[in-house]
Symmetry: C3
Subunit: 447 residues, 3 copies
């Protein structure tokens, strides 16, 4: 009875509340699981939103790099004579086709062959065609899909050959040029690209080239130089009486081209962040724009000092020089540094154009000055101005410039040379006089 009494007075209360407490704890636990699940779902959604915006930026950047092909076309068309306009447009139209299709066939897998990590890879090939994997979004691409990676890089690839087309304009044969471009874009550009962006030996040694002052621009410039040397100058350019300036046929067209190139460069440099990272992309937009502006001023000042004229073509090329100059380090430069780098690139333009002319290397659009010389300058500037842990040392930068330059120049020279001795690379004097539009296309640019 005492027991029963005790049980009734003492325990039941405790037991009841204990059960309550247990139930409450279990309920809390169950709700905790729901909360955790909800938090995990929210995290997944947030991650996907972040992935979506990063990926979208790479795609928009690819479209902007695409419009650079119109920029190059318009610039080069504006800077050549009226009789060679259809020809230069035809070349640029074919190059974008060739670039995209060969990059799909082999370029992408040559440039990103998947070198073993920390290897000193020089050459590898991941096979023909594209292999997106089961869900098109493999783990290797944390911020964008396989397709975004491909199309962004493919738009880059063709720009190299576009640089060449301007330099060899007004005298090169169409078909040999297209053959050269195909091999150059399909093989040479991706191999040197793999040394750095593909994780190869230059990457391992600390070479730094953010968006391609060397990998894209000076690569195009070296190939252009090889072509210029083997082609020789346009008829009547270098005469006994001195250098005869051959002016382009349309400055508005050239200006449209240069502004579109600057516009596209927001994608070229901004997209090279490889995500929509707010701080980096906005810094890159700022350094890129300021370098271009300073390049225009630099070229204006330098060309005015040299010739006492206000030379629009120098200012336009000064923009491009500034843009090429900042490209290697657009993500690591301060405001002041980017202005200095761009300004010096702008000064380089008239000096370099004059120097090439003195050496009788005839470049109708100034592509070698813009892309080769300013590309080298920008790559060295990373070592001179860059202030970050992984900025390339002077040695690393110089090694990259020399190695990529030597490879590209030699390959291009051999290619052009083989074409020269087999099918010939230069139109006849009569065709050159008549103009390539009628000679190669039987079509006038203007009627």
């Amino acid at each position: 009875m005492l027991l029963a009494y005790l049980q009734s007075t003492i325990t039941p209360t405790a037991q009841e509340t204990v059960d309550q407490a247990l139930a409450a704890a279990a309920a809390a636990q169950a709700n905790v699981d729901k909360a955790l699940e909800a938090a995990t779902a929210a995290q997944t959604s947030a991650d996907f939103a972040q992935f979506t915006v990063n990926n979208l930026w790479i795609l928009i950047a690819a479209a902007l790099v695409f419009i650079m092909h119109l920029g190059f076309s318009a610039l080069e068309a504006g800077f050549v004579r009226k009789k060679n306009v259809v020809n230069i447009l035809f070349k640029n139209a074919m190059i974008i086709c060739i670039g995209l299709l060969t990059y799909c066939l082999c370029g992408f897998n040559l440039m990103y062959p998947g070198f073993a990590e920390d290897s000193s890879g020089f050459f590898a090939f991941a096979g023909f065609g594209l292999s997106p994997g089961p869900d098109d979004m493999t783990a290797a691409y944390a911020d964008y899909t396989y397709w975004s990676d491909f199309i962004f890089q493919a738009m880059f690839a063709a720009t190299g050959a576009t640089i060449v087309s301007g330099a060899v304009a007004e005298r090169i044969k169409l078909i040999p040029f297209l053959i050269f471009s195909t091999i150059f874009v399909a093989l040479s550009y991706p191999i040197t690209g793999s040394w750095k962006w593909g994780g190869g030996w230059l990457d391992a040694m600390g070479f730094y080239d953010f968006a391609g002052s060397t990998l894209v621009h000076s690569v195009g410039g070296w190939a252009a130089l090889a072509g210029i040397i083997l082609l020789g100058p346009r008829l009547g350019k270098y005469t006994a009486k001195g250098i005869r300036p051959i002016q382009g046929h349309s400055m508005p067209l050239a200006a449209i081209g240069v502004f579109l190139l600057w516009f596209g460069w927001f994608g070229f440099n901004g997209g090279s962040v490889l995500s929509a990272d707010p701080e980096l992309v906005s810094l890159v937009f700022t350094t890129t724009s300021l370098a271009a502006a300073a390049g225009g001023i630099g070229a204006f000042v330098c060309s005015y000092i040299m010739t006492k004229s206000h030379d629009l073509s120098m200012v336009l090329n000064g923009f491009l020089g500034g843009l090429v100059g900042i490209t290697a380090g657009a993500d690591i430069m301060s405001i002041t540094d980017s202005i200095i780098i761009g300004f010096i690139a702008g000064i380089i333009i008239p000096l370099s154009v004059t120097a090439f002319d003195k050496a009788k290397l005839d470049d109708p659009v100034g592509a070698t000055s813009v892309h080769l010389v300013c590309g080298i300058w920008g790559t060295l500037a990373v070592a001179l101005f860059g202030d970050c842990d992984d900025c390339g040392s002077f040695t690393a930068q110089l090694t990259g410039i020399v190695a990529i330059g030597a490879f590209t120049f030699i390959v291009s020279f051999i290619l052009f040379y083989i074409l020269k001795v087999t099918m010939g690379i230069r139109v006849s004097a009569e065709e050159e006089e008549r103009g390539l539009d009628m000679a190669e296309h039987e079509l006038r640019a203007y009627n």
Copy 2:
């Protein structure tokens, strides 16, 4: 006393810890509610971020489709003679006005009238003007706002009439053309559009047209064909001695137009995903670009075989043919398929241009070959190459092509015919000779 002792030695401890347990469980429960609330808030934020990026892409895509109107203007201006340039620019400028305003007035609500689900809707109208609802972001638009939906679709609407303007260029009277365009964009385009994109009978039967090979491009092409037939060829085009080629006045202008059209197509096709879905949008960018590139090569090869010349206008139209061809299935094609589809579209261009000329159907810019013929090809290609559950069968695709083609052609023919017998649609021979710029605008394109 025993009781008191028992209570003091046994129960108190239990009771105290029970209270602690209850309190702890209650505290946990309270925090769980906070955690759930926090997780829900995070989910809402993540969903809004996703909504924001999806919506932003639709808007950027709308801006890209807008720039296609500049693309069409430049292309058509480049492909006509110098004396008809102001006229073609004037038409294209007015069409964008007419397109946006009539789509606002009635087009949008004709094209998206809200057919009952799984109905076989043929015609419905949701009323004049726009009705965004209380918060401009109604549930029907999960990934973008009402305004984004409107402006993206409105930019599409005007492109149909732009296609017509090129085909009937150099001989059509301005005012009748503008009247035709207004009725065509306000009524005909939205009605056929509603059959598929508005959820009408073609959608119910499984017709597939991702971004409008049929709904936009061949619709424009059929209207163009009706105009061409009723107008007759330009003076001096088809002579007793054969077909006289009438070359455009500026190839650079045409090239600018085509490159801008390709640029805009990233929005035309990419935006048709109707979200920023990473995998789909990036696939669409890739298939679209590769088809355009393959179209350029196809047109180059085919036109070279046909005429042994390197025809820039064919390559440019080859780009457009590839783009139109991939448009119906850009979201479902493999890399290889999109290259094949584009390449065949490119081959079609010179063949079709020649065929139209043989039939004495005079199209100054090749719009019918690009938009009508390649639009049909692209729509059929969905059935031939598409590999997905909801890809249209050959029958469904053919039904869509024929039904939309017949409706559009008949409506356009009747419209043009009424205009012809009432106010006349063709300028006088003297005006045509003098050029429409002076005849209709008293303004020269170039001074």
Copy 3:
């Protein structure tokens, strides 16, 4: 023994389950902490995704505003005579350089000097250069980084001077113009800008100017007017026999310019939302496009009534008038309001162009009609049509127009006047006849 028995039968059970309950509650609590942490992490991720998309839109908008500089260049080049094309391109190229670099040097910190809140700030300066703070993403910029803010605003800054260049074209000396532009962009534009966007006295009194009908467009227009007055008309424009129309040299170039300006306006107005807010940005895209379209129709109708001709240059300027008109209230207007505002702006264009010509104020491109007159109209329209709490009253709007107009006109007049009496602002009659391209640049636009 009883105690032991009781303890063994009653308590242990309770104690045991109490311990279980305590442990369960503690476990729940621990998991709650994890869930809260996970929810907080998800919230942080979602917020960063939102920040990333907002920031990305500001950057893309900056790129779109950049392309307006190409739009202005092409429009102005198209509307001047062949002999002054290089000159106008040169000016526009230099203005973008000057605008970006001076905005970096002092403009940004003059325009956003950090007035004390609710002050009636008239002038303040936050110091030379840029000061992004330790992490480039200071709290003041909730939706974008410091760099995004700078580059977006910097692209705006240069547009003011670009407006001037068209109005004073074909007769102003190059160097004085560049000096004027530098001081105007570096000092005058940012000071009046600070009154509203910098949070100064006009902002405090309720003046409303969403994207700059007054702050950017009429500011440029007032400076242009000062220049026009001090320069005088072009030779042969106003003769004893009446007004001689001097037509532009290339309508395609002008059309390219106008379409690119519209394209860029998506960034100009859309970016002025200062985030990617789905509802606001999509509304702004819609009101902006509809106003431009209605402006084209308004100018077409009005110019047809006035001259019975279909005047392309009026329609093109009508687009721009509609765009300038909607700019002050693009975020608060209904569809109908934006169409009315644009249509009236379009009507204004031919009336204003005629009125300026009657007053012998010679503006080769119609910049004062487009930017000054339609800028005033758009700013007043906010008071007439706007339906929101913070829309400016008529008094506030008028105060803003008058205050900013008076300041800008007086400063510009004094600047131009000083330049006129010191170095002269007008080329010689002989140089004007010969053309500025040869006189100032020794370079022809076309060869």
